[in-house]
Each structure stands twice: as structure tokens, then as C-alpha cells.
Symmetry: C2
Subunit: 316 residues, 2 copies
């Protein structure tokens, strides 16, 4: 059984794990990263997290095949360089070279959403299909495309930004500068935004009961909880969310036609309560017609550690 | 120099050509197809067109490597079967088997828009890049994805329907049943539709001068012609068209990040007059940021015979 280090770089911390070739995590550790830190400082924190996980696993560096890094932005794996990232303000950072000063192993890097998609493809929901897209419905909408069991990165490592495809021209302003991006309608944040608006407009809604009337307690789950209790306002939020989510996912299917769409992130924990009406809405909209086989829609299986596991699997 | 038969199946006719491995057409012929014909009748017309082109080229069947068919709908090249098509009402038609009753050569089939994209990739605008998407802006919006110099068909031959990705949720009704598809805003038909509306609303527009006041004479070109003459109405139509076209193309770039987008069809004949403002609009919207290299936007080079040439090249 071969073992790999996987590192998931976030905005606030670096999470690292020792991962087997079947996707099992043997040990993990987290180190905070300074938001305004130099790349040398951030790479040092990443290496520290990895070495701590290694220590916890009772393995030695000689037992490890490689280090994989899942990073926000646009990493160029060929050159080992993080070309561009928005939230860390990095340009052309020599990640591989810098990491190898701390851990002298082969170093692979890729986009964090791509790593989550790879984890689902190798060991998770999409392990029986060759072509899949994994969407993470969180603060934003991340997505990673797997074609023939490999990450598809585009010609220059910037592909698979489905969160930033416009589904409403002149719609809501997105953090990326475009208006009407899928992310503004399909993220967990968008559910929270719409729930806050609706709860204020409809004081009688069970949403207010469930949150004790405190808008700060509104999360992406409460509208679903209220809907399950028969609350009209909750149901409207859920229906509207599914409508926009279906539109963007049907777009991805019409463009790429993967064998499976995998949905991760908090909202996906609603499971079949979300998936059943979502599939119905999507299958009405896709270009595929019988007797062509439809794309499957499933929830993610790798949980919060998908980023670590997928990063480790870059070395497979 | 190897030679191939390429057949482009349309709704009204089958066009066939004898094509060299560098994309040169040695001879071509067209046969009408009956819209309500059986598949046997339509395949016979296709074979007749191919055999007539062969005769005109003074070659014999022994000189030809293979027959390639570009078809509307969802052809399964592995099985040689046209699984589904909307405009011919075909289901599971054994195209390869039927064609081989007439011409006993290897037969390859693929989607017509994919064939046009392959032609641009092998011998046209995209011949120096590995990954491209070719859009045909005509009655509808067709598109074909080329990844690593090969057609990307999706897991079940229904991918690359960018014309049917929604850019305006609840927007204009599309022929596919969805509302707000890219095709409804970026096709030549949409330019004609908008020009007719604007010409009626603005009797003073040069559009009416250029068409002698006859709405029937409005084509996809006249708004561009009027804009070039300084006509405000024409300019508004062009600006609006570019805005929506840019939105859909930026979506395709954010999803797939090809090295090049190729634009074909009547509207693309506007050349740099269209491309210059279009590039500006797209580059403002794409997720790619310096120093990442941007996707190139160019016009198609293979003209109306791209379908025949691309079909022939299925045999390469």
C-alpha cells in the first residue's frame, strides 16, 4: 500500500493528510496561514502541517511517494508554479521548488476544486464512471472536471469555473466582476441571502421560529428545514434554489455531458430531498433525449477531506 | 496523398466530397433528401452524392480510405448508429451498416457541428492549437469541442450543445424547450429577429433605407451595414448582439478554457468589425487573469464546406 501527502491550502489554514492509494487518511494536521504572509511563509506552514501529520502517522519521509498540493487559483502543474490566485494575491509562485526545500519529494499541484473532483473520481461517488463533474456548493460554487479519470485543466489551468458562467445576463453582481454568475444563485451563500430576505418579508414563516427570530442564525439549512415542516416561505426558497441550480447544472451537462454530476458542500447534505426534484428539473432541461442515457446526479461521498485526499491523489 | 469521402447530412440535402488528408476538396456533389424519407432512402441519397463526387474526381472506390458522415443529432460512432435526431425524427438508425450496403468501406459518423470543429482543427483556423471550440452562428448556434486534436463527444455523444446553455433564466423560449438559451441571443436568426423589431420601431433607421423598407429583405448583415454607416439603431443591435455573444463565449471559456474559440457561420464574415469589440467584451468577463494566457478568438477558415471536410477527416 503506497502512501502520499495531500495538502489542501485554504484562505486561513493549510490542512495536510497522509493518504493511502485507496483514499484512506491515516493521519492529518492543520496549521494556520497568515493571510498577508509571503509565499515562503505560507509554504512553510503547509510543510509544517504535512510533517506533523507524518509524525502522527508514525511513518517516515521514506515511506511517502509524493506531495500533492490543492491550491486556490490557477496552478501550472507542469512548471510547478502557482500562476495566479485571487484571494492570496500570488503571481507565479514557485510552489514545487519552495516545498522541496522542506520536503524533498516529487511535488504535484492543482486547483483545489479539481482535487475534490479527483477524490470523488478515484474513491468517491464517481469511482465507477470515467467522466464526471464535481460541484462544491459552499461559500461559492467550485467545480472540477474529470475526463477519462483525469483532471481536465483547460489549455492553461483555468478551466472548470462553472461557478462563473453567467445564467442571468445583467443579473446579480458576482465577486469575479461578471453579473449573473451561477455562483450567485447556486451557492450556500445565495440560499442564506434569499432566506434572510424572505424571513424578513414573511414574519409568520417557520424560518423565524426555527431561528428564534435571529437573522444571524439563518444558515443554508433552515429554509430546507422549514419547507419539510410545510412552511410556504421555506418551500418557495427551496423551489427557487432548485430552479437556478438545475439551470446551471443542465448547462454543464449540455456542454460536457459527463456520465455523472457529483454535488458536495453543505447544501448537498439535504440528500434525496434536494436530489429528487433537482433531477426532475434537470432532466426536463437537458438536450439529451431518450434513448440516449442521461447523466447521473449524485451527492459527494468524500466529505470535508476531499481536498486533502484529492491533492494526495495527484501523485497516483 | 490519401483520400476520403466526407458526407454532410442536412435537413434538405446530402452534400458529399472527395477530400485529401490536408483538407482539399477534389470534387463534390449534392443530392436532395426527402424530409419524411425512410432512413434507407436518406442513406441511399447520401451514397448517391458520394458516388457522384467520386465519379467527378476520376477516382475509384479503391482509391478511398473511408467514408465519414456528419449528421445532426447524437450519432454513436462506436456502434455506427444514429441514436437520436430531432429534425429527422430518427432513433437508433444503423447508419454504418446501411451505408456499407452502398459503399463497402470503413464508415465513421459524428455530429455535424463536431465535424466542422474537426475541419477547423485539422486544416483551418485552429490548426496550430490542440484545444478549441468552433461555434457556427447560423439559424441556430452549433458548437464542437476539440481536446488534444480530437472531437470531445461527452460520455454518450451528446456533449457540446453550447447553443442550448441558458444565459438568461426565464428568457426567450428556445426550440429545445428551455428558456433563455444562448442560441436565442447569438444565432444569425436572433440578429434578424432583433433587426426586424428595431427597424419597425425606428422608421428613420438606415436599415429601412438599405432594405427598401421591405422587412422581408432583412438579413443578419444589414444591421452591421447600417452601423458601419453611423446608424444609431444598427449600432444598438450590433452592441446588444456582441454583449450576449460575449456572455455565452466567456461562459464556454470559463468552463473549458480552450486555446482558441473559432467563429463560423454568416455573422462571422463581419471579421474584425465583430471580433475587435467582441474580444474586448469577452476578456473583461473571463475568469482568466494576467499572467495566465488568454483564449484566442478567431473566425473560421473552412467556409461552407467545413462539414464535408470534417466528416472526411473522421477517417484520419
Amino acid at each position: 500500500m503506497k502512501k502520499y501527502i495531500g495538502i489542501d491550502l485554504g484562505g486561513m489554514s493549510a490542512k495536510a493528510g497522509i493518504v493511502t492509494d485507496t483514499g484512506e487518511i491515516l493521519a492529518k494536521a492543520t496549521k494556520p496561514t497568515k493571510r498577508d504572509g509571503t509565499y515562503q511563509e505560507i509554504l512553510k506552514s503547509m510543510a509544517d502541517a504535512a510533517l506533523e501529520a507524518l509524525k502522527l502517522s508514525n511513518l517516515r519521509i521514506e515511506d511517502i511517494e509524493s506531495v500533492g498540493i490543492g491550491s486556490p487559483g490557477t496552478p501550472d502543474n507542469e512548471k510547478g508554479v502557482l500562476v495566479y490566485t485571487n484571494n492570496l494575491n500570488f503571481r507565479n509562485v514557485p510552489m514545487r521548488e519552495e516545498m522541496q526545500k522542506h520536503i524533498n519529494l516529487p511535488v504535484y499541484i492543482d486547483n483545489d476544486a479539481n482535487c475534490a473532483a479527483l477524490a470523488e473520481s478515484v474513491a468517491g461517488a464517481a469511482k465507477d464512471v470515467k467522466t464526471s463533474i464535481t460541484f462544491t456548493l459552499g461559500t461559492g460554487v467550485g467545480s472540477g472536471i474529470i475526463i477519462n479519470n483525469k483532471i481536465y485543466s483547460g489549455f492553461n489551468y483555468a478551466a472548470s469555473e462553472f461557478g462563473h458562467t453567467v445564467i442571468v445576463v445583467d443579473g446579480l453582481l458576482c465577486t469575479c466582476g461578471r453579473k449573473g454568475c451561477f455562483e450567485q444563485y447556486a451557492s450556500a451563500s445565495s440560499v442564506i441571502r434569499e432566506t434572510k430576505i424572505a424571513a424578513e418579508k414573511n414574519p409568520e414563516s417557520k424560518i423565524n421560529e426555527l431561528t428564534g427570530g435571529n437573522p444571524e442564525k439563518i444558515d443554508a439549512k433552515v429554509a430546507f428545514d422549514a419547507a419539510k415542516l410545510g412552511d410556504k416561505t421555506g418551500q418557495e426558497i427551496v423551489d427557487n434554489y432548485i430552479k437556478y441550480l438545475a439551470a446551471g447544472l443542465a448547462n454543464a451537462i449540455n456542454a460536457i455531458e459527463p456520465e455523472m454530476i457529483v454535488l458536495g458542500g453543505g447544501v448537498s447534505h439535504e440528500g434525496e430531498y434536494l436530489l429528487k426534484p433537482l433531477r426532475e428539473a434537470i432532466y426536463k432541461e437537458v438536450y439529451t433525449r431518450e434513448p440516449v442515457i442521461f447523466t447521473k446526479i449524485e451527492t459527494a461521498k468524500m466529505g470535508n477531506d476531499a481536498g486533502i485526499i484529492g491533492a494526495a491523489m495527484l501523485g497516483l
